[in-house]
Symmetry: D2
Subunit: 161 residues, 4 copies
C-alpha cells in the first residue's frame, strides 16, 4: 500500500470519516470500554489515543496498563488501517457502501511485543498497512507513551473481502 501510492492523493469525505469514526468508537462497544479514539485517518496510516483510567489497570502495584488493553487496542488499530486502505481503494463507491466493507473484515492473527511497561496518562497508537492484497492485508502497529517512547509493537494479518 505505502509502496504504490495513487497518483492523485486520496482525500476521505467527511461522511466517510464520520461514519468510520462512529462505527469504530461507538458501535464496537469494547473500543468504548478501552476509550479508544481516532486521532487521524489517512489511507496510508491511522493513529489513535487511549487515556489511562482505573478500568484499564493490569498491575495493581504500579498502576500499569493491562497488556490486554495494548493487544486489543493494536488489533483494533490494525483493522482500522486496513479499513482506511480499502476505503482509499474504492473511492468510486459511495461512503455508505465503503463503510459496509468494515463488517467483512476479520483478524486472522496478531503478534504483540511488550517492550516497556505501559505507564502514563495517555498512549498513542499507530498502524500502517504493509501490504493490501485482494484477500489478505498485513499491518504493523506501534503503541507509544506521550513522550514518544515505544512501549509495544504489533503485527497483524487481516482477511478482507
Amino acid at each position: 500500500m505505502t509502496r504504490h501510492p495513487p497518483m492523485v492523493p486520496v482525500e476521505f469525505e467527511d461522511e466517510f470519516v464520520r461514519g468510520l469514526t462512529e462505527i469504530f468508537e461507538q458501535k464496537i462497544v469494547f473500543n468504548q470500554v478501552l476509550g479508544l479514539k481516532i486521532t487521524s485517518l489517512q489511507p496510508e496510516a491511522v493513529t489513535g489515543l487511549i487515556a489511562m483510567k482505573p478500568d484499564l489497570v493490569g498491575h495493581y502495584a504500579f498502576n500499569r496498563l493491562h497488556g490486554g488493553v495494548i493487544s486489543a487496542g493494536l488489533d483494533a488499530m490494525g483493522g482500522l488501517a486496513v479499513m482506511a486502505a480499502i476505503g482509499a481503494r474504492h473511492m468510486d463507491e459511495a461512503p455508505a457502501q465503503r463503510l459496509q466493507r468494515f463488517a467483512k473484515l476479520g483478524t486472522i492473527d496478531l503478534r504483540i511485543d511488550y517492550l516497556r511497561p505501559g505507564i502514563g496518562e495517555y498512549f498513542d497508537l499507530h498502524a500502517e498497512v504493509l501490504r493490501l492484497g485482494s484477500r489478505v492485508a498485513s499491518t504493523r502497529m506501534e503503541f507509544r507513551g506521550v513522550d514518544g517512547k515505544l512501549l509495544s509493537t504489533g503485527a497483524g494479518a487481516y482477511i478482507i473481502s
Copy 2:
C-alpha cells in the same frame, strides 16, 4: 513443566488459591472488566471462563466478541499458568511469599490465531506452560466455545524472576 512432573503431586493450599484468585479476578482491574474467572488452578494447567456481555462486543452486527477480549483473556491466562507453575516450584515458601512473585511476572510477547468468530453465552479459556525456565516461560493457550469448539489459540512468552 508438563514433561518433568514432581514425584509428589503438588496440591496448592487454600490460602494460595484464594490469594491468587483475588489478585487475578479483583486486583487486576481489567480482568474484572473482561469478567474473567478462574475455573481451575493446577500446577500443569489452568482454566477460566468469560461470560458474554454487551461491553465485550466487537462486531455490532453479529453480537460477536471483540478480538481484544480474546487476546487479553489469553494473555492473562498464560500469565496465570506461569504463576501456577512457579507456585508449584516454590512450595517450600509460604503462600503469601509465593504470591508476591506474581508482581514480577511480565509478558514478553503474545501471538493469537483467530480461527472462528467468538459467538456464544460463555467461553472457556485454557493455558498450559510448555517450558518453565529460570528466566523465561513459554505457554500455549486455547479459547473455546461452550460446545468445546476451538475458536482461537495463543502462544506467549513471559519473563519471570
Copy 3:
C-alpha cells in the same frame, strides 16, 4: 478441519502421495537441503523427519541445530498439512489436478517458539490444520526430539486459492 471429519474417511491414492512427496522432498530444493522427509500424510495431520548433519549446525560449540532449520521445517510442514487437507477436500478431482493446487499455496505468517535446544540425531516434525477456510488456513506445528521431547512449537497462516 479436525472438527468436521468427512463421513467417509479419505484415503489418498498412491499417485497423489507419490506426487506430493516428490514435489515436497525434491522439487522444493531447500527442503532437500534440510533433508526434510515425509513420514506420514493424512488429511488431518502430517509428520516428517529431519536427520542431523553438519550443514544444519547453528551453534558450533554444542552441535546444536540452527533455529532456521526448525522455522523452515515447521513452515514447510504447515504448508504440507494444508495441502493434505485441501487434497482431502477435493477428492473428486484427479490427483494431478489436486497437486497443481500446491503451486498456489503461500505462507502469510509464521510464529515459532523455541523451547529447548535442538540436539539429537533425528527430529520429528508434526503439523495439523486447525481451520481450513476457503481462502485462509491456520495450522499448528511441533518439533520433537527422538525421545518425543517437545523442542519447538509453531503456528502458521496460509493463503489458499
Copy 4:
C-alpha cells in the same frame, strides 16, 4: 537501545568485527548454507545480504526463495543485532571476551510476515534492537529486494545472559 544512545558513539574494534563475522558467516554452518553475509555492523542496527542460488529455491515453478530461507535469515540477523548491542554495552571487555557472549544467546521466539514473493538475485536483510534488557532483547527485522521493496518483516525475542 536505539532510544538511549551512548554519549560517545561506540566504534567496534577490527578484532571484534572480524571475530563476529567469522563466527556468523563460517562457524554457524547453516548461515554458510544460506550464503548469509554481514554488510554492516553497528551498535544500533546490522545489515546483511543473501544471494539467490538454486539451493534456496522454495517454489520450483517461479524460482522463488523458500520461506524458510527468509525466516532463518531474519532469525540469524535478529541475533546478530542483539550481539552488536551487547558488544556495544560491554566495550570495557576485551573483544575476545565479548565474543564469548554470543555462545549464550538464544532465540525465544520469532514471527515472520511474508508480504511479497522472494524473487531476485540479491536480498537485503536488516535488523535492529527495539529493547535490550538484562535478560531479554526484542528485535525487528526486514527482508528487502535489491530495489528496496519490502518482502518480509520479522520480530524476535532473544534470551541473553
